[in-house]
Amino acid sequence: MEGQAVKAGFDFLGIYGFFDGLMPESLDWLAFLVAGFILAFAIINALVVSTAVYTWFERRALGKFQSRLGPNRWGPFGLLQPIADVVKFMSKEDTVPDGADRQVFTLAPIVFVATGFLVFALIPLGSNDWLSRLNIGLVFIIAVTSVNTLAIFMAGWSSRNKYAMFGAMRGVAMLISYEVPMALAIAAVALASQSLSTYTVVTNQEVPFMLVMPLAFFIFVAAASAEMSRTPFDLIESESELGSGYHTEYSGMKFALFQLAEFMAPIIVSCIVATLFLSGWRGWGPIPGQVWFILKALVVLCALLWFRATWPRLRVDQIMEFAWKGLFPLSLLNLFAVATEIQLLRDPVTGALTDSDMWAMAAINWAITGIVFLAVSRMFARKQLQRPLPKPSPLANMGAEAE
């Protein structure tokens, strides 16, 4: 970026430049402030509105998956349902449990939502529309998502409720475990695109990385859907066991914030997947990049919804096993394979990778992925067969003996 003229797009510098031109020299700081506020306003509202629409879509689609109707009363096809939900949340009593840590209890949902907004600011929506020009975007995404665990801890601890505490403990254990394969998958992307900036990842992505490194793609999607803590990874709030996990005690707007963050997560994840693995805004023909980006993100969003609707919830031990014995070694293998291929294929002088290099990597990686999938599925299948038969409980015959 240094030195060359950057065309002003919809980003902080563009907005700042616009206001800086309007205002006298002494009011620089005001332009700075206004630009920051406009940017924050744009990000927050774009996300909140799209989340509102998405909640409707998800509930309708889940209804279809489960042979029921879903919300259909308010407006055509139930489209006004999100508004009704918000009115309901706002009019509910805002309760704080006795003996709860009031300030931390209030802060937790705010921290939880804020991390989502921060990540979204880094996603390049078009070749010239990206909100934050950070040259270490990928590390930033990993770092900010790791703050989520703290928010869950705060919610669980401050509610002074055993179910909330259990949910938070489970959640933190799961989130920490799945961060590792997610970060390793992102590291493979950073290697192949030779950059840590989300923008350069897209510009260097002549061939979508989903084709170049399918293993990283699958690992990332699996780990990210765990990070979202939705079914099949929703043991954080498994209703049948824990009330509703870390937000058992929350009501009113605070609960609405948790819901917002939870429904926002798939949107953000699908945007990240579209950026990192589906070559972001790049596309063909006269269709503008923004449309391509939204299309790709929508496809990923529907796939995530499909996962949610199809798979049952996993047990705690199964989830940890999947992270540490399944995804973690696979992500190491993937990183090693990608690094080796890049070392062998790249131009020895400039270090650049051409399109044909990428396609060669794709061929090798698809072969590796196929072998690995076969091996892993066979391993897990054998394990299924060797599972010991459940022993009858010693209490099972008590009634019969009494007779």
Partner: protein
């Protein structure tokens, strides 16, 4: 502050003072609060303040890694430790070592302040304005600041690779040690 690239130094100064005061207040809260969980949360605030300082020094990579490691991992570890501690409710207990600890901390602070003021820092701004740096060197230096990641990577993987690897082996040994201590016999 580094003049080039930062549009207005007044803003950076204001941000610097906000972060500095916030970090110190949070650090005092960590030591003073009776509620251990809140103390841990203030520790997170202090870590975030340090990350903000790194951003002001244009070391974005270090700032983000600070958030990743200290906020995302270390503080979670600390909170886990607090939760598995018995009698958390009673808060952090005091003992008779308060005065010696105060003296030691004061000495340490004095030492750090002495080192800060006696070191001749190679600040780019003053170096350029004082004519100690040629223009060519100055442009090179600002290029380094523009992309700190490749430079850090080069140092870690090439020059200090042995220290880097030794650190990771030590961490691995610590993990194995912790596991073997915790294993049921």
């Amino acid at each position: 502050m580094l003049g080039e690239g930062t549009e207005s130094s007044v803003i950076t100064d204001v941000i610097f003072w906000v972060i500095a005061v916030g970090t110190i207040v949070a650090a005092i809260a960590v030591v003073q609060l009776r509620d251990l969980f809140r103390a841990a949360l203030f520790l997170v605030v202090a870590f975030l303040g340090a990350a903000g300082m790194f951003v002001l020094l244009r070391a974005e990579f270090i700032a983000v890694v600070q958030v990743l490691i200290y906020v995302g991992a270390i503080s979670v570890l600390i909170i886990f430790a607090i939760m598995t501690t018995r009698e958390v409710e009673q808060g952090s207990p005091y003992n008779r070592l308060q005065v010696p600890a105060l003296i030691l901390a004061g000495l340490f602070l004095a030492g750090v302040i002495f080192v800060i003021f006696s070191t001749e820092w190679n600040v780019l701004d003053t170096a350029i304005s004082g004519g100690r740096l040629a223009d060519e060197t100055a442009t090179k230096a600002s290029e380094v600041f523009a992309g700190t990641v490749p430079r850090i990577a080069g140092l870690l993987i090439r020059e200090y690779v042995l220290a880097f690897e030794v650190a990771s082996v030590v961490l691995l040994a610590a993990i194995i040690g912790a596991l073997s201590l915790m294993r049921e016999r």
